[in-house]
């Protein structure tokens, strides 16, 4: 049998989890959408696009940016002013615990002392915590244990899964895992828990069986709590982060798609983060008075000041290679106190370029950044046959 035919057959026959979609709800959603579109047309007198279709990141292939550029290293200083100073960040290997493969980094605490990441076994995660650069494989208490965040006290959060419908969030502190319970009822949580310095943890829940964020809301586990509190946010609000002063960073979603990013206080008072004309936006992460996320359809990272709501859309660094059909780096995934943003594997800021050093023929892929300019991520290389592999986790000191 040819390999192509085998692939066809295997794709046709492999077990997939059951779908919870039914004809009735699909029809209901379709009818509702048509009604909504008619209403909007009447009001605006214009055709409203059914779907903001994105151009495709046909391949997320990046080539190495033009080698390390000699320049002044300015740790932790936001770049302002007319002179262009490239910050070059020196690379360092993060050790990998024995017996773990495919280890990647997911988050760093704001001080840069703690880094979390995951290895994988089949489809399951294996948790790794680095403290002062020393790696430790954490206990595996479920089929899959995935670390997603860590605060400056070294308190770790993540998701554990023991099979379908058995995913839960946890806190890991002083060597002990604590399961974080969602509100009573059947919910699934998404996308992943986020923790601030105070130990408060946020995530979103959606009724089991719903899709697209329908009837979802944001919850918080206050420091030390194991039962969740529903946050009094507007309909359609989903959170992605909580900053150290308790500000909630997220977006308002309509029909499953983000319209604009917001910074909310916990009592639910919100500031809309400015959306550039002709765009829609989502906020993904916050630090201090900064929030980052993305704008569509431009597919670029955005940096907001959460006090003023003012936005800066960040340009793609010179020499950076984005996917062939992608206009920008994609959304910002992390931001530090200086307003340096991680997007599409690069560190970008409003001003001078930042270059992560990488050996010839290899590519730095940043995923997280601390306030002291320590960047965590991975080094990627290209195989002789044109495929790609991750060489391993790395840090860069900027």
């Amino acid at each position: 049998m040819s390999q192509e035919q085998e692939l066809r057959d295997r794709m046709d026959t492999l077990d997939v989890p059951p779908s919870r979609l039914d004809m009735e709800s699909l029809l209901r959603d379709g009818r509702k959408r048509v009604t909504r579109r008619r209403t909007l047309r009447t009001v605006a007198g214009a055709v409203v696009a059914v779907a903001a279709m994105l151009v495709v990141p046909a391949v997320v292939v990046k080539q190495r940016a033009a080698g390390p550029v000699p320049g002044t290293v300015v740790p932790g200083r936001p770049s302002v002013g007319p002179t262009h100073t490239t910050t070059t960040c020196a690379i360092r290997t993060l050790p990998v615990p024995a017996g773990l493969k495919d280890v990647g980094v997911t988050a760093i605490d704001p001080t840069g002392r703690y880094i979390v990441g995951n290895g994988s076994v089949g489809q399951n995660f294996r948790p790794v915590l680095w403290t002062d650069g020393k790696a430790r494989a954490l206990p595996v208490i479920a089929k899959s244990v995935q670390l997603t965040g860590v605060n400056s006290a070294g308190v770790v959060v993540g998701l554990a899964e023991d099979g379908p419908q058995t995913e839960y969030a946890f806190r890991y502190q002083n060597g002990v895992y604590t399961q974080l319970k969602p509100p009573a009822g059947d919910w699934h949580i998404y996308p992943e828990p986020s923790i601030n310095a105070a130990g408060d943890i946020v995530i979103n829940v959606e009724p089991d069986g719903n899709t697209g964020g329908k009837d979802s809301f944001a919850i918080i586990w206050k420091n030390g709590a194991t039962t969740a509190t529903k946050l009094p946010l507007p309909a359609g609000a989903n959170l992605n982060d909580i900053t150290d002063d308790g500000t909630l960073i997220g977006s308002i979603y309509r029909n499953g798609a983000a319209q604009a990013g917001y910074a909310w206080t916990q009592p639910g008072k919100g500031r809309k983060l400015t959306v550039p004309p002709g765009q829609e936006a989502a906020a993904y992460a916050g630090r201090g008075d900064w929030a980052t996320g993305g704008v569509w359809p431009d597919e670029k990272p955005a940096l907001w000041n959460t006090r003023t709501g003012k936005v800066v859309v960040l340009d793609t660094p010179k020499g950076a290679v984005t996917a062939p059909a992608l206009k920008g780096l994609g959304p910002g995934e992390a931001v530090n106190a200086q307003g340096w943003v991680v997007a599409g594997g690069y560190v970008v800021r409003d001003g001078d370029p930042v270059v992560l050093a990488a050996p010839e023929g290899q590519q730095a892929m940043a995923t997280a950044i601390a306030d002291n300019g320590l960047v965590a991520g991975a080094l990627d290389g290209k195989n002789a046959d044109g495929s790609y592999r991750t060489i391993g986790p790395r840090t860069w000191q900027c």
Binding site: L7, S19, G30, D102, P191, N240, G256, G345, S387
Partner: protein, 176 residues
């Protein structure tokens, strides 16, 4: 929608739903996200049913929406799930036949999103190179090279010697 059109839609969706769900699951490897993607796709399809029903190849049309939904990060923040958008690890899957679902789904998930989309559109959706290129908004050359790379990366979880020989000829053909 007029009742007769709605009936056509229902008939189409009833037949295609399992296959669309399969395609969505192979793209994202997450049951919830797969439902989200299919739901968004079929809502769009409902709204545009008359135009879609008149399309030359309605399955290609629907797969195109499906894949774009998958690639549209704005919808929910699924992009960070697992290996996400970063250049992927290539898992060294050294056995096959032990757990087909796990190995193939895992191997697919380790491909870059765009490459995975090419593989699913071409080999599950049965779209031509041209239709795949149109769906993804890229060149046919890009589809061919991505398809060859994807197959190459999946080599570890597919067939034996015969498969590899076939792959070599496929590689030569696709890259040419």
């Amino acid at each position: 929608m007029r009742p007769d059109h709605e009936r056509e839609y229902v008939e189409y969706v009833r037949v295609r739903l399992p296959r669309l769900h399969r395609a969505a699951y192979l793209l994202c490897a997450d049951a919830h996200q797969a439902d989200d993607i299919v739901q968004a796709t079929l809502t769009s399809l409902y709204v545009d049913w008359r135009r879609a029903a008149a399309a030359d190849n309605i399955d290609a049309y629907v797969h195109r929406i499906l894949v774009r939904r998958f690639l549209d990060e704005k919808r929910r923040r699924w992009s960070k799930v697992l290996l996400g958008d970063a250049l992927p690890d290539r898992p060294t899957v050294d056995t096959h036949g032990v757990d087909d679902r796990d190995t193939l789904v895992t191997a697919l998930r380790a491909l870059p999103k765009g490459q995975r989309a090419v593989i699913v559109l071409r080999f599950l959706g049965d779209l031509s190179v041209e239709a795949t290129a149109e769906a993804l908004g890229c060149s046919t050359g890009n589809v061919k090279s991505q398809s060859a790379r994807g197959l190459s990366a999946l080599r570890g979880v597919l067939g034996g010697a015969a498969g590899v020989a076939a792959l070599r000829s496929a590689d030569a053909r696709e890259v040419a």
